[in-house]
């Protein structure tokens, strides 16, 4: 499993891996928002956490279609499924998700504090948003894996995956944003939505890979 993790990390940082595409998209969205919304600093700081979360969510979905498709095109997926009797296929999927998250989504979390400055957010709000992104984005990857597995055989399944997955990511978005607001706006709580966010991630870490493994096993042809 470690070998699979390291291979996918290597692939994501080599040429054509696409690890940077998400970060660049994230950057582009966040940098454009102040131009569109206008120079109202209070408004920017108020919508800052939500904008960071929405941009991160969309950037997460961007690279998901390649999660299994690249392996399918070169035949690796057959061997991953074939070895499913030796190590559970769901575990291999979980490993691939973690590698994908580390390679393409973790850079977003690292870039988020810097981009928070564009939104005129205060340090506490920036910290809280980065923390909720760190805890919440794996959930998006896990749901996305199920979508990617369903659409693995479709040549242009990228948009389909986004449409399939987006409704399922809404709870993650809601609790991520409300926890980020809870850290700065006084009466709103931080800990409760944050814990629900963590619970969502743990829950989806089990359900997502199991669903994806099932779809992959029945999707081979």
């Amino acid at each position: 499993m470690l070998a699979l993790f390291l291979r996918d990390i290597r692939l994501s940082i080599r040429a054509g891996g696409g690890a940077l595409v998400g970060v660049i998209f994230f950057l582009a969205v966040i940098v454009t928002i102040p131009f569109g919304v206008g120079p109202d600093l209070n408004l920017l700081s108020r919508i800052g956490p939500a904008i960071l979360w929405i941009a991160a969510l969309l950037a997460c979905l961007l690279g998901l279609d390649r999660l299994f498709q690249a392996d399918r095109e070169d035949g690796s997926l057959d061997l991953l499924v074939l070895n499913g009797d030796r190590h559970m296929l769901a575990l291999a999927v979980l490993t691939k998700c973690l590698a994908h998250w580390t390679g393409s989504v973790l850079p977003l979390v690292v870039a988020a504090p810097l981009l928070g400055l564009f939104m005129n957010m205060e340090p506490l709000g920036i910290g809280a948003t980065a923390l909720t992104l760190l805890i919440g984005t794996p959930a998006i990857t896990f749901i996305g894996a199920a979508g990617a597995a369903v659409a693995v055989a479709l040549p242009r399944g990228g948009l389909l995956i986004s449409v399939l997955v987006l409704p399922l990511t809404i709870p993650v978005l809601i609790f991520g944003v409300s926890a980020s607001y809870g850290a700065v706006a006084d009466p709103a709580p931080f800990l409760q939505p944050f814990l629900i966010l963590a619970a969502l991630t743990l829950f989806l870490a089990v359900v997502g890979p199991l669903a994806a493994a099932l779809a992959l096993r029945h999707g081979t042809d």
Binding site: A3, L11, R14, D85, T220
Partner: protein, 201 residues
């Protein structure tokens, strides 16, 4: 005593039966050559045996695989049309990954590359290799981890004469060690005394 058994096996693609009523018993040390015209279901048969496609009818199983190889999937190497290698990674990285992932390590990556006469090319990205060289790396993948059953789909596609002979010697060595080979092919593989299964006649 290891055996690969198929009983009244049927396979389908997209709901349409491709073949049915296939049965064979392969003892250890034996090879089965699957022949037949295009579209007769050779590849489908191999994928059904490897449990990459669902069994439509009948069953396929290994007997006497012991604890290490209880099912056909766990006992099998599958060499399909695709090489299952990443073009962005070096040959060594590719083989090293499969050796670690598949478990039951056999030859080291260097030894396996020497065996397919690609010694010294391990540092090259897989994408730089020619079609025949890629196929040989894929064959080296059979050697880095131990599996008693080799399921080979057109294994010699793209190989030159010398490589074909080298590969035939590898298969014979595998059979001498008590392995099982099931190969779908049009070309003679140089295996004497192999059983032949004709599809589509």
């Amino acid at each position: 005593m290891m055996r690969l058994i198929a009983e009244n096996l049927g396979g389908e693609r997209g709901g349409e039966a491709v073949f049915s009523g296939i049965g064979f018993v392969i003892e250890k040390g034996e090879a089965l050559i699957v022949t037949g015209p295009n579209g007769s279901g050779k590849s489908t048969l191999l994928r059904v045996v490897a449990s990459l496609l669902p069994v439509a009818r009948g069953k396929v199983l290994v007997e006497g695989g012991g604890e290490a190889f209880p099912t056909v999937a766990s006992a099998s190497h599958y060499l399909g049309h695709l090489n299952a290698m990443k073009t962005a990674l070096s040959v060594e990285e590719n083989l090293g990954f499969w050796r670690a992932f598949q478990g039951e390590p056999a030859l080291s990556v260097e030894e396996a590359l020497e065996t397919v006469a690609l010694g010294g090319l391990g540092h090259l990205p897989f994408g730089y290799l020619s079609t025949g060289q890629r196929r040989r790396v894929s064959i080296a993948k059979l050697l880095v981890s131990r599996r008693p059953v080799w399921l080979l789909d057109e294994p010699t596609a793209g190989l030159d004469k010398a490589s074909e002979e080298r590969f035939a010697a590898l298969m014979r060595a595998h059979l001498r060690d008590g392995g099982i080979v099931v190969a779908a092919t049009h070309l003679p593989l140089g295996l004497e005394g192999a059983k032949v299964l004709g599809m589509g006649d």
